[in-house]
Symmetry: C2
Subunit: 130 residues, 2 copies
Amino acid sequence: MRIGELAERAGTSTRTLRYYEARGLLPARRADNGHRTYDEDDLRLLREIRTLQDFGFELEETRPFLACLRAGHPAGDSCPASLAVYRHKLAELDDLIGRLADVRDQVARQLAGAEEAAGEAAAPRCEMTP
Amino acid sequence: MRIGELAERAGTSTRTLRYYEARGLLPARRADNGHRTYDEDDLRLLREIRTLQDFGFELEETRPFLACLRAGHPAGDSCPASLAVYRHKLAELDDLIGRLADVRDQVARQLAGAEEAAGEAAAPRCEMTP
DNA sequence: CCTTGCCTTGACGTCGGCGTCAACGCATAC
DNA sequence: GTATGCGTTGACGCCGACGTCAAGGCAAGG
């Protein structure tokens, strides 16, 4: 399988595959004419990368999962190093979500306060009106 | 007040102030020798920018708040355009937090599944042991 | 006179994950 | 012969908010 076919089957681009190879994530064998050659295992590895990417993992963080698959394990997360990445990402997500929730509440309060101030300006001294 | 003093009083850098001027956010008057000159109002505007930046607002999104202050309003969020930015950011945050929460749960499930698989491999057929 | 310290403009570097273009080769189909 | 369609490498562009360095000016103090 050449680069174009692999890209299409994985729903990505040839540029992406060359980039992964340059980063050492997904090295390719070469045909006599210099063309990159891939097999079904490469497709599995590529899909592992893409899945993790969709979850927000950085490329570097996918390495343990790839190593795990290459070592013959049934899944990319069958190895301790992969689990460590999971835990790290989980902590990262919890922290981020927490901070975003704080910001969200502060913005909501600012908005509520500003809306109230605008309402008072539009209809002042109306606290007792129904 | 010159650029260095303003930067220090706002807890930022001179580079940042020049950047804001280049973007048209915080223009400066000039002294005879070409040095930028700022006053207390500029400090207020700058603090408004920094506060919003800390909340994750983009620089472009701070413009309505600055215009509001320049128009003489008591707060940057005393104007409808600012409230619109608040609401937009709020929706953005809710969306982002929701998607991150989804990812978080999926990662957590993956982790749980992988840990269970690893546990079974280490101590197989132990469902009945206490 | 010379150093120190503030200021000026201009321009390149950073980070991640590619997109996009250039210029080229090789092979098959017409 | 040539048009089409695959592949190759190299290199610059993008996004946002600056950091950092270069080269220079100008004023006060020793």
